[in-house]
């Protein structure tokens, strides 16, 4: 039998190439291209009075200098609003080059194209822009106050106001025996892929064809947007995502100004043009995420059961809303996690500020939602003197209650309906992994040594694999080589490996014979993109379906040739053979030869398919009426809804009693993404996610000053965690298959980062004995909180002593 490939922890096919310098990223391409550089706004809010490029035109090597007035037709119109929504009543997008006004530091104003990037930057430095400064809105509080406006025609800075309610929250709240209100705050962070964005475009004047490369998460999206902007037939535009050094969300937004301008300049100049984003540009002119203020009011009974959950969110969407309000929608729906809220109301305001725009970053609104929900769970436990895990388990949606429809609309406009999950089993596994019930003893021991330690927990549910669809195409060459193509892009996830595993399993071929191409519109013109933990679910399912089609076709052809029934055949390691009589067989390569009747032989194998080979029935056409030539198969997967993965994390932290330095001693993860294609890759995704989550919990913030200047726009001051800051991650899995797709899989890409801020806040709170309501938290922040707590400005938790937190009710704890 063929070795089991699906589910095997095999090493990544792409790693030898990527780890030995064989990757070809955007800036590795186009060495003959001209380079673009941009003059970007140094002001957060200003009117452009004058642009004087007279000193720059003479710089040797400058080829073109362009401002908004130079952009013809649709190139000069606002960039598209990609995801409209009825509540996004005041959506605004920027221009490829700013027209009259700039709304954040970093907004592009002038494009210089020159012989190389050095020269282009020299010229940029000589361009003088005169501004009339306008009042600046920075921070959610200033935006919410609405005294100063980002856009004159957007009252109160409100881009969108949305309300979803399930049940009668007011009545349930009024009837609840107990209520609590929490005010919470999550700061901004950003994706920060190792490779920034980048675009490279070539114009074939003779054929009127544009080929562009972009470091993007959606080459089909970029292609369509650029064709529309530049008024080109879609057939005359190709977009290819080369190796992409990380995306994490920021590269799903499209078209970025540069994705329009670089191809436009390449056409106008008739020469290849390239732009590779540098780190400072990425900080100030790409996108951030996370920033929210939250207010949670919760009603519950004396046993800790939720009765009413009333949430208000104020979401900072930055200066524009090209990606709509996906992030706050996700926060407001995924906040519920694994719990039944009783009744639920969530109201959010998406607010403009004079800062770089806010679009999804790995987790995409979920870390904020998880933070709100999990802080609330801890507060209920503290209020009632109950064990924190116990309070959670009492509110779980149970496996017998699946599928569970929350009665809300999710980010894809479809019902928020959980397909499967076993939350009690996940919690039991987590408690056992972290030693939940033994922690009180550990804490007593630590306290005796003068150490402060705390245990934290966080649970989440993540809607993954949203539609609308993805496709898979498989073609088997006469050599037996299996070419697999899917349209979504890869940014390092391991698609070459997992998609090959699916094909190897479904077709019965060897891994090394499978070659996967992603993100190339020449190979697959229909695709959506890589985001929302959807690649494995969407393209994986589509590729599985395509493989089944190819397999059926191969069996039909082979059955005909071997004069047996297709039902009697199997495919093992690339050979079609009769079950129980393996000597009667032919390779898939030979099947491929037979699938394509030839007039001309190009090699020995092909001779078998030529018209005088004498193997064909003269009464039948060479290609049957219901067949196509070639051993190929294609299919698309389009689910009715997202599939919901889940996970639970726990951490033990230690805080220095004097310096307030925070150390994560243990970090434990239980992760359930349904059936795993490759557990090693899933674990890698979880590790990477946790690492980013640790960044968001303890290190990363966007330090804007009052004038809208980003004070830490470099890796010296924006603190991403190094390997030395990321704890050892102890991970275990549960596999609750999804009933929604042919493989039973759920997404895993974002999972790791979602609960980390909630978990670390929970653990620090547990160590310190006072509420933690704002993340991230630095040693200095914690030191200040301690001072304020000592001064009576911050209340203590209700628990009398840190060592008496395990409740007597834990015997009711659910088991797997």
């Amino acid at each position: 039998m063929t070795t089991q490939m699906f589910g095997a922890p095999i090493r990544r096919k792409e790693d030898p190439r990527l780890l030995t310098g064989g990757g070809r990223y955007l800036d590795d391409l186009g060495h003959d291209a001209l380079a673009a550089a941009f003059v970007r706004s140094p002001h957060a809010h200003a009117r452009i009075v004058d642009i004087d490029a007279s000193d720059a035109v003479d710089v040797e090597g400058v080829v073109g200098i362009y401002v908004h007035e130079d952009l013809p037709g649709r190139v000069g119109e606002p960039l598209p609003l990609l995801i409209p929504h009825p509540t996004l009543t005041h959506g605004r997008t920027g221009y490829a080059l700013a027209k009259d006004e700039v709304n954040h530091v970093g907004e592009p104003i002038v494009m210089v194209v020159a012989s190389d990037r050095y020269v282009a930057e020299d010229a940029c430095q000589r361009i003088r822009v005169t501004y009339e400064q306008l009042p600046v809105v920075v921070g959610i509080e200033a935006a919410r106050a609405g005294e100063l406006l980002v856009h004159d025609d957007v009252p109160d800075n409100v881009a969108a106001h949305m309300l979803q309610e399930v049940g009668d929250v007011e009545a349930a709240m009024a009837a609840a025996p107990r209520t609590l209100t929490l005010d919470l705050d999550i700061e901004r962070s950003a994706c920060m892929p190792m490779e920034g964005k980048g675009v490279y475009a070539r114009w074939d004047r003779d054929r009127g064809e544009l080929r562009m490369y972009s470091s993007t998460q959606t080459s089909t999206g970029v292609r369509a947007a650029v064709a529309a902007k530049l008024d080109l037939p879609l057939a005359k535009v190709e977009c290819i995502a080369p190796d992409v050094g990380g995306g994490f969300g920021v590269k799903i937004v499209h078209p970025w100004p540069e994705e329009v301008l670089v191809p436009w300049a390449a056409i106008r100049l008739g020469r290849p043009v390239k732009w590779a984003e540098d780190r400072r540009e990425h900080f100030i002119s790409a996108a951030h995420e996370r920033g929210q203020l939250q207010q949670v009011t919760v009603g519950f009974d004396d046993e800790g059961h939720l009765l009413a959950l009333d949430v208000k969110l104020w979401h900072d969407n930055g200066a524009y809303t090209p990606y709509g309000i996906i992030v706050p929608i996700i926060t407001s729906t995924q906040l519920l996690g694994p719990y039944k809220p009783g009744t639920y109301r969530c109201e959010f305001w998406s607010l403009y500020t004079n800062t770089v725009l806010v679009t999804p970053y790995r987790g995409a609104g979920r870390p904020q939602g998880c933070f709100a929900m999990e802080r609330t769970m801890d507060a209920i436990a503290d209020e009632l003197g109950l064990d924190r895990a116990e309070v959670r388990s009492r509110n779980f949606i149970l496996p017998t209650e699946m599928p569970w429809d929350h009665g809300l609309l999710f980010q894809d406009g479809r019902p928020l309906k959980y397909d499967s999950g076993d939350f009690p089993a996940s919690l039991a596994k987590l408690k056992s992994l972290v030693g939940w019930d033994d922690f009180a003893d550990y804490r007593r021991q630590a306290e005796a040594e003068g150490r402060k330690v705390g245990l934290g927990i966080g649970c989440y549910v993540e809607g993954t694999g949203v539609g609308p669809y993805e496709g898979g195409h498989i073609q088997i060459e006469t050599s037996g080589r299996v070419n697999v193509s899917t349209g979504l892009t890869s940014q390092g996830q391991g698609h070459e490996t997992v998609f090959a595993q699916i094909v190897a399993q479904e077709l019965g071929v060897r891994m090394e014979d499978v070659f996967v191409t992603t993100g190339d519109t020449r190979k697959m013109a229909y695709a959506v993109g890589t985001f929302a933990s959807r690649a494995a679910v969407m393209s994986g399912s589509a590729i599985a379906l395509a493989a089944r089609n190819v397999r059926a076709k191969a069996l039909r052809i082979a059955a005909d040739a071997l004069e047996v029934s297709p039902d009697d055949l199997e495919i093992v390691e690339g050979t079609v053979r009769v079950k129980g009589a393996p000597a009667t067989s032919m390779s898939l390569g030979t099947v491929s030869v037979l699938s394509n009747p030839l007039r001309y032989a190009f090699d020995e194998a092909a001779q078998a398919a030529t018209q005088f080979a004498g193997t064909f029935d003269p009464d039948k056409p060479p290609v049957a009426d219901d067949e196509e030539p070639g051993l190929e198969g294609k299919d698309f997967y389009s689910p009715t809804q997202a599939t919901f993965a889940n996970g639970m994390h726990a951490a033990i932290v230690e805080t220095d009693p004097v310096t307030a330095e925070i150390k994560i001693l243990r970090y434990c993860v239980i992760h359930d993404c349904g059936t795993m294609i490759n557990p090693m890759i899933v674990e890698g995704q979880v590790h990477g996610g946790v690492a980013q989550g640790v960044g968001g919990a303890l290190y990363e913030r966007m330090a804007y000053d009052e004038s809208g200047q980003l004070l830490n726009a470099s890796f010296m001051d924006f603190l991403m965690p190094y390997a030395s800051e990321v704890p050892t991650i102890e991970a275990d899995h549960l596999e609750t298959p999804s009933p929604l797709n042919p493989l039973g899989i759920k997404g895993a890409g974002e999972a790791g980062c979602i609960p980390v801020s909630a978990v670390i806040a929970s653990a620090i709170e547990d160590a310190e004995g006072f509420p933690i309501t704002r993340m991230p938290i630095s040693p200095y922040d914690l030191w200040e909180l301690r001072r304020r707590h000592a001064d009576g400005e911050i209340p203590s938790l209700h628990r009398t002593s840190s060592t008496t937190r395990t409740s007597g009710t834990s015997s009711k704890e659910p088991t797997a």
Binding site: R279, P721, E725
Partner: protein, 293 residues
């Protein structure tokens, strides 16, 4: 993030280097390891018209140990000095501090003399030059001179080195027998510029402290040395009196430093931090003093 145009000079001798520096004056900048300079150029925070690259200059890459000092040439990389067993035996403080200088990749390229000439108060090695009562050896158009450390550091990123001069070496002074040293710092991430750091040298004679001093990272605008003799002198390490003396020393540090706040930590936090680090580092140095006495 591409530097403005500059002319690259690659002298082969100290004389050539000084001659180029004299020619280009304030338009010139010396390039050694480049770990601070190159990022500054890339961000166009500075645009010197001339870079005088001394990496090919002969005779600047040695570490020499004499009875009085450890002499470090201008092309000795941090990593080379860190790994020098001879330097460690003569002055353990060097390695104790150098392992805190950024990351190995940066230490492999960055030079110790370069970081001293850069005179960043957040740098470890300027503080160590001060703590060891060190000297900078300078070559200029009119010959050589030596600058004692207090005369070398004038302000943040500012030294008494003239534009036409090249720092060719520094000498870190060795401590008397019976001296133990220790260095510690606290950074947001491993290898970052410290929020606060402190190095101490404690000399124990006949069982009691005869001399003690400290210098600091990131909490003073120029390297400075605080004499801890008044707090620790005459006290026997490990005794109850020692614990009190350490408190006094920490208190003296708290009063001595003058930190500034930034986005990572307030001035008050840094002051608290360096005080606590002093408490932690003094017993280590005293232990080592006991071990060498």
């Amino acid at each position: 993030m591409k530097p403005a145009p500059f002319e690259h000079h690659a002298p082969l001798t100290v004389e050539q280097a000084v001659s180029v520096l004299s020619e280009v004056g304030h338009e010139g900048k010396v390039l050694a390891g480049g770990q601070s300079l190159i990022p500054i150029l890339n961000m166009r925070l500075a645009s010197p018209a001339h870079l005088v690259d001394i990496n090919r200059v002969a005779g600047l890459d040695s570490v020499e140990v004499t009875p009085e000092a450890v002499r470090v040439g201008a092309l000795v990389r941090h990593a080379g000095l860190e790994r020098s067993e001879e330097a460690f035996a003569a002055l353990p403080l060097l390695r104790q501090a150098l392992v805190n200088v950024a990351h190995p990749a940066i230490r492999n390229r960055g030079t110790t003399v370069g970081s001293i000439a850069h005179a960043d108060a957040a740098g470890e090695m300027p503080a160590i030059l001060a703590l060891t009562d060190g000297v900078v050896e300078v070559a200029g158009p009119s010959g050589s001179r030596e600058i004692e450390w207090p005369d070398f550091f004038l302000g943040a990123l500012e030294t008494s080195l003239a534009a036409e001069e090249l720092a060719v070496a520094v000498r870190f002074g060795r401590f008397p027998v019976g001296t133990g040293t220790a260095f510690t710092e606290a950074a947001r991430r491993h290898g970052d510029y410290a929020m606060a750091g402190v190095g101490v040298a404690v000399t124990v004679t006949d069982g009691v402290v005869s001399a003690a001093r400290a210098s600091f990272v990131s909490v003073t605008d120029v390297p400075s040395v605080l004499d801890l003799g008044p707090a620790l002198g005459g006290v026997e390490p490990g005794t109850a009196a020692w614990d009190e003396a350490v408190e006094d020393a920490a208190e003296a540090v708290r009063e001595h430093v003058d930190p500034e706040g930034d986005i990572h930590a307030s001035a008050d936090y840094r002051r608290m931090l360096v005080t606590e680090l002093t408490r932690r580092v003094l017993p280590q140095a005293a232990d080592r003093a006991g071990a060498t006495a």
